[in-house]
């Protein structure tokens, strides 16, 4: 009977999940170490959007999602909620990064040189096997490449606009701020935002809806040590290291709070190797804090804090978009009734108009 068909959800859920597990069963055959090595960019994306740095857990999440990376990030976020916070690590400085890659498109020659590292930027995307020529690397150095940002000379010459520093960084996982949003909270939201969404927002400002003309001042990928003050000895200890991407992009000049003309910059940072996300974030940062220099209007999407703060999180947008699959028959019933009565009212009014019978 139809009545019971609506009620019988429990068995249906179980069966549906069993069907789904036919997919994930195949994923489970892959060892975590293999997956981490083979799909390093997937792992990094999931750790970044899931806001939890663990390659092992990211690998398990990807397997549990049969490769659906947004779903995998969601697994990590959910796991995060069940973990007690132990403390807060010392501030990181991306200038201290042990670089595996660092480029600058703003300058031809930079201190420490352009360090391409591993990149497929100049690969020709053809699905046929083209062998890359072997190159003898003579001047390869395996020393720790710690080089400051390529924009450092300009910063030392006091040419770069510095935004006011906050006393304490905000923590969006403990309190989500209301407007006006502290800059640290804005950066946090973007840093764990969905890569594609950030790219889309940034792209709007590159063409059509904004005019930031970003130049990549410094793009870097490398390792950063995580340091922590030991609760008993009170001494600083290294508790591990993370791989991260960071980008400083330079925009046009603008006046700072003292009225001096300065070059503006935007900052992007995320876990793992995800240059596109870091670049996108740096561009949005640039548009948000320098909207008076965008051509046309200040009302563009990428320079609107409300737009960015509430719409770039993948876990939230993905969840809400999918919730429309839940039953909505009560609300639809109410929509339908309102629609019918409004239609009746409008039809009556129209009839009165035709009959010239308006009161």
């Amino acid at each position: 009977m139809a009545y019971y068909a609506i009620k019988g959800g429990e068995e249906a859920i179980k069966n549906s999940l069993n069907f789904y597990n036919d997919f994930t069963k195949n994923s489970e055959k892959i060892e975590d170490d293999d997956l981490i090595e083979a799909f390093t960019f997937s792992i990094d994306k999931v750790m970044s959007e899931g806001s939890l740095y663990s390659k092992k857990l990211a690998s398990q999440a990807i397997k549990r999602s049969a490769g659906d990376l947004l779903n995998a990030s969601f697994f990590l976020r959910a796991h995060r909620s069940s973990c007690q916070r132990i403390g807060i690590c010392k501030e990181l400085d991306v200038n201290d990064m042990r670089l595996s890659r660092r480029i600058s498109s703003a300058f031809k020659d930079i201190e420490g040189g352009q360090l391409l590292g591993a990149s497929n930027d100049y690969e020709v995307k053809l699905l046929v096997d083209i062998k890359n020529e072997k190159v003898d690397i003579k001047n390869y150095s395996n020393k720790n490449n710690v080089i400051k940002s390529a924009l450092t000379p300009l910063r030392e010459d006091n040419l770069i606009k510095i935004l006011p520093k906050e006393d304490e960084p905000w923590d969006i996982t403990r309190v989500f701020p209301t407007a006006p949003y502290p800059r640290s909270s804005v950066l946090q939201v973007m840093s764990r935002g969905e890569s594609g969404t950030l790219l889309g927002f940034a792209y709007t400002s590159m063409r059509g809806y904004g005019d930031v003309h970003p130049t990549i001042g410094d793009l870097r990928i490398g390792e950063l040590d995580i340091k922590f003050i030991h609760p008993f000895t009170k001494k600083e200890v290294k508790i591990g290291s993370i791989e991260a991407s960071a980008v400083e992009s330079a925009g046009t000049f603008n006046k700072d709070e003292n009225g001096d003309t300065k070059l503006t910059t935007g900052f992007g940072f995320c876990f793992g190797k995800n240059e596109t996300k870091a670049i996108s974030m740096s561009i949005i940062d640039l548009t948000l804090y320098n909207n008076s220099y965008t051509v046309g209007t200040e009302q563009i999407v990428a320079s609107d804090f409300e737009m960015v703060m509430h719409h770039v999180d993948g876990i939230e947008s993905f969840g809400f978009a999918n919730h429309y699959k839940l039953p909505h028959y009560v609300t639809f019933q109410t929509d339908y009734q309102i629609f019918k009565s409004a239609k009746k009212y409008v039809d009556e009014q129209n009839r009165k108009d035709v009959d010239g019978d308006i009161k």
């Binding site: 139809a2 249906a12 409300e306 999918n322 028959y329 109410t334």
Partner: protein, 276 residues
């Protein structure tokens, strides 16, 4: 797994937010909102409220669209009971804690009961002012003119408000509040309810409340009637109830049948009839 999934700091924060919300009826309180193992938009706000106030003595009921057996209700109930071991029930009268999506139970609630709503959009002003910073100022000034204008425009064009569910209400003569997407049929039940009503919006990270016996009125013009959904002469084909909120169900032959939306109410009506 920790009792009730959330870590103690999170529970403490949510309880504080709930207390603040109860102290200022209808006012929207921000909270951090942890990610839950259930997707955002699927009841994570209600879930966090429930999990932070639930204890061993509670008896839990979970409904979705008025039904205990609806897929999402089953899912949420199973999750909560798996992390708390509380007793669950479908009986509205036996429940101490009821988590709901889109309905207020047909049977009147009693003192001591708590009704937790899952809320998609916590701020009713979102309909007329999407900028949260501006909306906050409007709330502070009790400036609901944009809502009134919307109501006026709708009334002049369509004879009534086009808002079919989550109809705006004024709580305790002060705050305009989003009652979550309940039908207008349920709106009067918000008023002077004996139970504590808590609202949790996970994705939007907000909590608000209506304490027991609080005045809640739909936003309407004095000279206009507040019309709720009506099913005319239809009655439930199962329990014959004539005044409950009904579901329209099409069978395989395309024939429409009407049944009580609240399945527990329907069952209890049948039981009553059997006793007679």
């Amino acid at each position: 797994m920790r009792y009730a999934f959330l870590d103690e700091e999170a529970k403490k924060e949510i309880r504080r937010s709930i207390l603040k919300a109860i102290a200022i009826p209808g006012y929207i309180v921000s909270f951090a909102s942890r990610e839950m193992p259930v997707a955002r938009g699927w009841g994570t706000g209600g879930l966090q409220v429930t999990l932070s106030i639930i204890n061993e003595k509670d008896t839990l009921k979970v409904i979705d669209q008025g039904c205990d057996g609806s897929v999402n209700a089953v899912n949420i109930r199973n999750f909560i009971s798996s992390v708390t071991n509380v007793k669950t029930t479908v009986d509205t009268k036996k429940a101490t804690l009821i988590q709901t999506r889109h309905r207020i139970p047909q049977i009147d609630l009693e003192e001591g009961q708590i009704l937790v709503y899952q809320v998609p959009m916590p701020d009713i002003l979102e309909t007329v002012e999407p900028n949260t910073a501006k909306a906050k100022i409007m709330h502070a000034n009790a400036d609901y003119s944009k809502l009134w204008v919307l109501l006026y425009e709708d009334t002049s064009m369509y004879g009534d408000s086009r808002i079919s569910n989550r109809y705006p209400v004024i709580v305790h003569n002060r705050y305009a509040m989003d009652p979550s997407p309940i039908p207008k049929y349920d709106t009067p039940k918000l008023n002077n309810n004996k139970a504590l009503q808590l609202f949790g919006a996970g994705r939007e990270k907000k909590i608000y409340a209506i304490p027991p016996y609080t005045k809640v009125e739909p936003l309407k013009f004095e000279d206009r009637e507040f019309k709720v959904e009506n099913f005319e002469d239809k009655s439930c084909q199962r329990c014959n109830s004539k005044n409950s909120f009904l579901d329209e169900v099409y069978d395989d032959n395309g024939i429409v049948h009407y049944y009580c939306n609240d399945t527990d109410y329907c069952d209890s009506q049948i039981k009553k009839a059997d006793k007679k």
